[in-house]
Amino acid sequence: MDNDRSASTAPVGNRREFIRGCLAAGGAALAAATTSRPAAARETYQRPPEALGLLYDATLCIGCKACVAACKRANDNPPEFSTVDKLWDTPLDTSGYTFNIIKMYRHGTMQTKDAEENGYAFMKTSCMHCADPSCVSACPVTAMTKDPTTGIVAYDADACVGCRYCVVACPFGIPKYQYDSPTGKIGKCELCRHRYQNGHYSACAEVCPTGATLYGRTSDLLAEAKRRLALKPGSLTIYPRGNLNGGPDQSYEGYVGNYKQHVYGETEYGGTQVLKLSAVDFEKVGMPYLSPKSSASTSETIQHTLYGGLLMPFAVLGAMTYVAKRNVSRAGEAPPEAPGGEGR
């Protein structure tokens, strides 16, 4: 009975206080919001002018997987087995120990290469080195970085806390973690940046026998990709191999594929430094549709709007401190010597 009565009387007595509290808190928060600098939307980053990358042309790929083996060697990675006899390195996907893999598209009778119907096709899976990488935006401790000149997305295990936000954030599912180790690291392609000082370049492009994987400046690779798209399918053309921007001429004459008119990576999430050509629809070979606006730019626009310069947090904190101080001291007036102390 007593409880019921208090339930109906207590709020009435405090209604004015409540409204005043609401107004004070709301007004302070509003003031905080308006005084904070109007954060400009963070634009999607574009590739640096000297960005390095790869051009993978699925119509040239013969699925020999020399690039998979070379990548393992170049990165000192152990073999991974998926067969019973465990004789050869047979990874089924990229992993913390496999940074590059050739996957296969199959349909129906699998008779014709690069045909969507009753055909098959290959697709390389490795880091795309995005112009605006989600992993770099996600990493709390700057273990994922994008080189301002080469644009290579690199990983520093000594900085990494192992939160695996990069694994979750990447739209291509590229950074992978070594779950079987108590000191597991993230593994991903870094475009063989550790081999450059010895005059080498990406091992996958070095060993590719058909030039399906070509290394070079992304701007040049993009021009080469557009040249191929402009050619008539079935006609003859010259295909470079290895390094587009140097080294001995390894080019050869070959037939032009029946390309989809789309350079994957030209505009996806602001563009990637690894570009791809395919005769089969890109979504069918595991390359997701991505808008020209990166998710990192959306995420960082939100973060910078809310927390830019810590202006908003401090303004709200100031408002809350003011209101809390007033309300705490007012509550403290009532019972000066209440046992247990109601002065909070």
Binding site: V161, G162, V168, S295, S299, P313, R330
Partner: protein, 389 residues
Amino acid sequence: MSTLHPAPPAPVGGSLFGATTLICGVLMTVMAAIIVVRMFFGLASVTNLNDGYSWGLWVVGDVFIGSALACGGFSVALLVYIFNQGQYHPLVRPALLGSLFGYTLAGAAITVDLGRWWNFWHIFWPAYFNVNSVMFEVAACITLYIIVMWIEFSPVFLEKLGMREARQKLNKVLFVFIALGIVLPMMHQASLGTMLVVMGGQVNPLWQTPLQPLIYLLSAIILGYGVVLFESCVAASAYRRQIELHLLNPMARVMLGTMAFYLLVRFADVIWRDAFALAFQPNYVALSFWVENACFIAPFLLIGSVEARRNPARLFLAGIAVMLSGILLRLNGFLIAFDTGPGWSYFPSVAELLVTLGIFAAEVFGYIYITRRFPVLPREPVPARAAQA
């Protein structure tokens, strides 16, 4: 008089040994054993985590959901100290205690999940800061909040130890920590929603929106009240105390108001972004969307009227529905509606479940220990205590 000056907090007293604490002890021991295995043999030795679902029960459950369920302290403090509703003061300490355990254990849980935990200090070392990272904001903020909460709660220990002088000194600056204790959870609970944004198209559009920070913040506040409803009912029944209906009734109304606003934002957003059609597709993701929102709507049916809110059973059920709604909002975004492509699947292993259970047991044990020995719950009126004895 009694309505103006509610009973001050006092220890509940009684024995710490009982069936509940014994079970908690066993579960905590099992958890410790699993953690040892994880530390020596890696995450794969005990979890079902994989590169498609690199965040499993420990991150999404123990940290994201665990911390949101620990928002009682924040939500009640908001009501008492910012909206100046002094009558809810008796709820502050118990709610804060729940938050303290929820957050402290969420912090402990993330350490177990971190792949390179010995580098955790990098979060606080400026050379490593990435201020663009949502994770950086969340990690830094949660750690600070845990420290702030222990300071906020310390009067309980100071009172118990009879340190009046220290208590009075702390009292003079306590408002600073109270304000921090409101701003910090506002920041990181909102950011937990922003966390989804960078994942882009992998998250179903029903949960992928730039409004996610607002949705998560509102949900966290609502969860705070829901948990207080739940906790108050459980504590009253377990300790055979009176339920604080005169407080829970109006507080539940505040909760319903916030929930109405939440539902408005949630559905307006989904419709505005042309994502609503996805909720009507014949798949489990759409089903999960409706279960989640049904849990948000259920409390309106359960405790919509003042009369219904006088029924402890209804308050208790509404509390559970609210908790489920918040749990599902987070599970859906980060796991159920998170699609990293064909071939990936995840369901927590027994060991993962046991660790989460162990954390829950640690919270229950801590709650029992502190409320029985320290002044947290309001002192019971004399007749009720006599009846209990």
